[in-house]
Structures are given as C-alpha cells and as structure tokens.
Amino acid sequence: MDLFTNLALGFSIALSPYTLMLAVVGCFLGTIIGALPGLGPSNGVAILIPLTFTLGLDATSALVLMTSVYYGAMYGGRISSILLNIPGDEPALMTTLDGYPMAKKGRAGDALVLSGVASFVGAFLATVGLMLLAPLLAQIAYQFGPAEYFALYLLAFCTLGGMASNNQAKAAIASCIGLGIAMIGVDNSSGLPRLTGGNLHLYDGVDFLVAIVGLFAIAEVFFFIESHGKNTTIGVKVDKVTIPWKDIYHTRWTMLRSTVVGFIAGVLPGAGASLGSFMAYMSEKSIAGKDGGFGTGVAKGIAAPEAGNNAAAGGALVPMLTLGVPGSGTTAVLLALLMTLNITPGPTLFTDRPEVVWGLIASLLIANFVLLLMNVPMVKIFVRVLQVPAWILLPGVTMVSFVGIYSLSGSWFDLILMVGFGVLGYILRKLDIPTVPVILGILLGGNMETSLRRAMVLSDGDWVFLFSTPIAIGLWIAAVAGFVAPMYFRSVLKKPQRVTD
C-alpha cells in the first residue's frame, strides 16, 4: 500500500521533536488568532509569514507551522462567536446563530466543548479525506495542459466571485484589480518591464505579501478606528466547563453529514470555509425542520457549522496542494507561503517532494489531537485572550505588520505600498467589493497569463485550442455556471443576519 508507506514517511518527519513542537506552537498561536475578533486566519497567517522567514525555517517546518496556525484559527474562531456574538473570523459567522443564544442560556461551557468536538470531527475526517483524495486528484492533474490550467484559474475566479460576493460585477472588478497588479514588473518571457511607470521599485513587481498584509491587517485597523473598538466588550462569562456527553452523542449524525457537506464545499476551488459552514448549517436546518428550533441555541445548530467549517478548511487544502489553486482566502495566503518558499504546488509536488506533502498531512493529523486537547480541557485559557482590549491589540498588529514587511525587503517603498493597500482594502470593503479575489489575482495572475501564452504558442494563435479537450470544456462550463448561477439563487441562499439582542 502506497498510502501507508507515504504516511510512515510523513509521521517519521512529523514526530521529530522539533516538528512536533512547531505544530503545538502553531496550534496555540492559531487558536489565539482565531479567537481574537479583528484578527482572522488569513490576516494572522499573512502577518506571520515574514516572521517565519526570519526564523530561517526549512520548507517543511514552515509549512507545518503555518498550517497548524491555519487549523488552529479555524478552531479558535468559534470562541468569540459563542461568547461575544462576534465571529472571530468569517466562517465562524454561522456559529453565532446558535452558539450565542446557547451561551446566554448559561450553557457557554457546553457550547464551547460541543463546538470543539464538532471542529475536531470535521477537521480530522477532512484531513483523512485530503489524504485519500489529494493523490487521486494529483493523478488527474497530470493530464492538465496550459489550456486546462487557464480554464481552471478562470474557474477559481468565477466561483469565488460568484459565491463570495453579492454583486458579480464587483467580484469581477476585484479579480481584475488583482490580475492587473500582477502584470506589473518585468515580463518573464520577453524580459522587458511592463506597466512600471518607470519606477525602479516596481521592476520586481508588487510582492503579494505586501498586498495581503495591507488589504487584511492594515485595513482592519482603519475599521477599528472608525468604530472606536466598540465591538469588544465581553459578553457571556464561562463558569465551569463540563463535557455534555448527551449533546455530543445526540449530534453525531449532524457532525458527520456536515463534515461531508463542508469537505465538498472546501474542495471546490474558490468556495472555501465560509460556504462550507453556511451549507452545513442550512442543510441541517432544513433536515431538522421547523421544530428543530435552529437559531434558539440548539446543539445541532452549533455542531453543524463548526464541523462544516473545519471540514472545508481541510478540503480547501486539496486543490491548493494538487493544482496550485486555493479554495479560500486563507489557502490563498498559504499558497503565497509556498510560492515564497519556492515550492510549486501541483501534481509534481507529490512525486518530487513527498516529504513536504506527507509530512504536512501527518502533522495535520497530530495537530488535530493537539487542538482537541487545547480547545476542550484548556478552553478557559483562550477565553481569557478575548479580554485583550482593541486599543492595544490593533496597534500591536500594525507594528508587527510593519516590522514583518520591513524585514522582508528593508525598503520604505514596500511599507508605503502596504499602507496604500490598507486604504484600498478599506474602500473596497466599504463598497462591498470582496478583497479575496484581489489577492487571488495577484497570486495567480502570472501563472494564468503564462498558461494562456503557452496554450497559444502550442496552437499557433488558434483560440479554439482553449476548448479542445473534455476537461477544459468541463472547466469552462463550471466557470460560467459558478459565476452566473448564484445570481438566480441569491434570494434562496441569502445569508442570515447575525442575531441581535
């Protein structure tokens, strides 16, 4: 069995004391990042990337650390959802719907434990799914030529734009902003500068880390200045934490169903964890019917979105590792990490660098158990983290962002650019234009153009070549459907608003 030899290789790396320590540190940091309102997973991972470089970690260690942070943040997001009614990150929004009402009934501890267990079920099974599905998808991906890759990139933009936004034109314009920025710099094939406006600083292009930290972290500071940090009062107190065995047993099928739904949503390129938790919650709600009491603080309403969200987080790693196309905002940030580590994700990653892939998968399996321990018996430690006030947290985040970007290049130009991206992020979010497609555009723009140009070289300029294989046609159809279909389902799929007291 290939799988077992691969896993043995993975565990031989993951169980080394150093890697194990990195996984534990990553889980701890990740849970804190996820729990803090205003510091989501994409944000947190983006700020930490420059710092991992200064630590001089090798590729596997860096990847293990950051994916543990990623998984940890997905677990941590529920804590502030339940206690403060503020989602710690976007996918945790659905957890507020039943988590906060349950906490207000005096069962905050139960809600935290139950959601922790649901997170574990979702994340663990999704990691197993990743283990089984990724090598298969990598096999298929070998058949991808430039035409298929071009269609695949387009699919990622279309589904992300279609699902993540309320207005298709706005999502598309966001993708164009990102792609347009990606074109700046020296053209790879001709070696001539493009769209630099003669500015020497732009000859290397715009570093995507600068854009990510600016759009996510700096923009967040502006939002807090606008609201004066008013959303940060402590809501519900946790008295004692016991394990609600009855609720856990009662929701076992809900967790499993939600895991499947979430995993599928995660694997779709561009859909991501928010969609996973949303679909899981809505499908459980319709299964339970009107008597299910969803929205009033029932156990199933907490288990479903958390299992779905964490399963989607695992699922999103599948297209990221096998095809180099991220399934969500945070995996886009993880892709940025891979690219800066000079690892090219794609099918060849599985054959050329098996130690990276399987070491990562084994670490994720271990990380899940570590996270279960941290998030159930030790949850009170993280509850305390919520008391860090915004007036010290947000300036701290800003300073860490500045030092991180400064340590990458040592140039003031990148810092100015980062502030510029922060302003852009603020304006875009105000106008309800999603920022994740901008990131995706900057990350994938170069590859997308290269695959288009390669395809045209192969066909000698014949555009029909782009639709010449069944896989390519399928991807084009999926892309168009992913972009157009949400317009018609928007009234059905309307996201429920947060519960207000």
Partner: protein, 146 residues
C-alpha cells in the same frame, strides 16, 4: 448609489489608462502569438466593462462615517506613512512608541492607556523581534549611538 457610481467611473478611467499604457509595452523581436500586451489589455477591457456595470447598476449606498471620522482616518494614514519613512533613520523604539500610541488613542481616546500601549508595544515588540526572532533592528538612531 453615488459611491458605486463614482467608484465605477474612477475604475473605468483607470482601466482605460491601463489599456493605453499596456498597448505601449515594448515587444521584443522574439514574440509569441499573445505577446506581453495581450493579457493586460484583456484584463483592462474586462475591468472597464465591470466598472460601467457599477456606474449603471449601483448598489445601495454604504454607511459612510461622519466627516470627523474621515479626519481621524486621514491622520492614521499620514501617521503610518510617516512611520514608514522614520523606521530606518530614527530606529525602532521612538517611532514605534509614537505611532502605536496615536493609533491606540484613535481607537480608544484615553491618554493614559495610549501612552501605556505605545511604550509597552515598542519595548515589548523590540525585545521579541531582536532577541527571540533575531531580526536586525536598530533600537535608536545610528548617529545617536555613535
């Protein structure tokens, strides 16, 4: 309504500028069918179309903050730009304390807290960056240390 329209107009103009400057890109003698201009021009066209959509089918107006908040945001941006320029010549500690303090005051306007946040963050982060992560930051202006 108006925000979307204005943004759409600005974006359309930028897209046109982008297309024009993309069409000025030098091509080398060794070129492929698409060349270095093709994809940027394509992006510009798609962006222009979407921008026009925003002009003619705008969404409801978002909640913009009052003018005073805009002032606060402008100050924050100015402070951050100043910080970007000050970081190298003036060292880490002093600019960080000032910037973090002002940002903290803008989020929660209490002087004592802001001073505490500024000093604690600059000293604390310096220790973490310098000794735990080993970054090559200089704490004070180089001339000052001699």
């Amino acid at each position: 309504m108006f925000s979307d329209r204005i943004f759409g107009l600005v974006a359309a103009l930028l897209a046109l500028t982008y297309i024009v400057s993309a069409s000025q890109i030098q091509t080398s003698f060794l070129t492929d069918p698409v060349g270095p201009k093709g994809f940027p021009i394509l992006i510009g066209i798609v962006a222009a179309i979407c921008a026009l959509f925003m002009v003619f089918k705008p969404d409801p107006e978002p909640e913009w903050p009052v003018a005073r908040t805009f002032g606060a945001l402008a100050i924050a941006v100015a402070i951050l730009i100043g910080y970007a320029f000050a970081l190298r010549p003036l060292g880490f500690i002093v600019p960080t304390a000032i910037t973090a303090g002002i940002l903290s005051y803008q989020i929660s306007p209490r002087w004592k807290q802001a001073i505490f946040a500024g000093v604690a963050l600059s000293v604390g982060l310096f220790i973490v960056f310098k000794f735990a992560l080993g970054l090559g930051l200089s704490p004070f202006p180089k001339d000052f240390l001699g």
